[in-house]
Amino acid sequence: MNAVAPPLTSDKPVAVVTLLGVFALSLFLQHAFNLHQAMVFLLGVGLGISLLHASFGFSGGWRQFLRNRHSAAIRAHLWLFGLTSLLFFPVLGHVFTGVHSVAALAPVGISVLVGAFLFGIGMQLGGGCGSGTLYTVGGGHVRMLITLAFFIVGATLGSAHLHWWLALPNLGDVSLIARWGWVQALLLQLGVLLVLYFIVRSLERRRYGSLVPLTAKTPNLSFTDRLLFGPWPLAWGILALALFNLLTLLIAGHPWTITFAFGLWGAKIWTALGGAASSLPYWSHGYPAQALNSSVLADATSLMDFGVILGAVLAAALAGSFAPESKFKPYDVLTAILGGLLLGYGARLAFGCNIGALLAGISSGSLHGWLWLVAGFSGAWVGVRLRILFKLDPPLGVAQ
C-alpha cells in the first residue's frame, strides 16, 4: 500500500478571509437581488476551485502540444467538449419540457475568424485564456493582473468597433441542433471530437511511445485531502467543469461565459471617467445597455467572474500556493500588455473567449464554436513562435 503524503501547508488566513467573503457576498446577493444571483455567483466559485485545483488551462496545454506534442491538456479539452455536448444537446433540443435555456449561438463569419485568431495569439503572449486569466489572477500571479487589466481595455475597445466587424460578411447563426435535430447533431459532433482525439493521441504516442494519462495523480494523497487541497488529476477537472457547466445552463439559463463582463467593466470605468460608452452602438440597446445602466452585481457574467477569482483564491490558499514567487523576464510586462489587448479585442470580435465561444459554442451545437477552434488554434501557433521571438520560451526543439 502506498504511503499517503500530507497536504501542503494551507494559507489559513487567506482561506478564512476568502471563505467569509464568499459567504458574505452570497448572503448580500440573496438579500439585495434574489437567490438566483447568489447561486450564479457560487457556481463561479465552484468553477474557480475546479480550474485551479486541476490546473485546467487552454493556453499552456495548446503550447505544450504545439511545442512538444504533449497532448494531455488537449485530450482533456476534447473530453470536456464531448461531455458538455452530451449534457447540453438534450436540454437545448428541448427534450425536457419546462427547462428553458438558450444556446450560445453567434454568426459564423469574418469577425469570429479574425477575433479568435487574435485571441489565440493573445493567449500565448498574455499567458492565459479567458478562464486561465481569471483563475491565475485568483491564484495570486501578479503578471496576470497586467494581462487582465489590458484584457479589459481590449474588450472595451472591441465593443466600440464591433458594429463595424458585424457589417462584414457572415453566414448568420448556424445551429447544428436546429438543422439536424439534437441526436444526429450530437452523434456527428462526438464523431468529429473522437477523430480529433485519436489524432492528437497518436501524435504524442508516435513521439514518446506512451501517453500521460488524464488520471495521473501526484503526489499521493487521500481522496479527501486531494479534493480539498488539490492537485486534482485532469479527469477530475473535466468532470467538475462539465457538472458546473450544466448547472450554469440550468440555473443561469445560458452557458458559462466570461468576457462580456470585461467589456462591461471597461465601459463602466470609462463612463465613470467621463466617457460616453452608452452612446456606442454596442452599449446603446439590448442586454449591454441594461447591464451598463444597472449594478455590476446584477450581471450574471460579472458575478461568475468574481466567483471564479474568489474560488481560485480559496483553492490556492488551501493548496498553500497563493501568490507564489515570480520572476519577471525583460519582455514580461510588454507581452502581458500586448497579450491582454489581443485577448480582449479578439474575444469581443469572436463573440467570446475559449469558454463563451469555444466551449459554450461547441457544446451548444453552434458552428461558430468550431470556427473559433480552428482560428484560435492557428493564432496559438503564431503566438508560440512570437513567444520565442520575445524570449519567453527557448527555440523549438530546446527543452523548457
Partner: protein, 79 residues
Amino acid sequence: VTQSRRNRWIMGSAISLAALATAIDHTHHPLPQAVVKQTTTEQPSQDGVSPCGLGGDSEVSPCGLGGDSEDQNVSPCSL
C-alpha cells in the same frame, strides 16, 4: 519569502480596489435591479415552467449578440 509577501500585498490591494469599485458602482444604481427579468424567475411557478431558465423572451439575457438588430434576442453567451 519577501517577494511572495509583496505579491500577497499586491493581490490583496487589487482585490480590495475591485471590491471598492464594485461597491461604488452598486450604490449608484437603484435596487433591486437584477438584469434577469423579474418575470422570468416568477413566471415559471405560475405557468408550471421550470424556474431554471430565462425563458424564450430572453431580451435581457447576455447570451446573444446585442448587435445592430433591434429585435434580436440577446443574452450574454455570445457577448
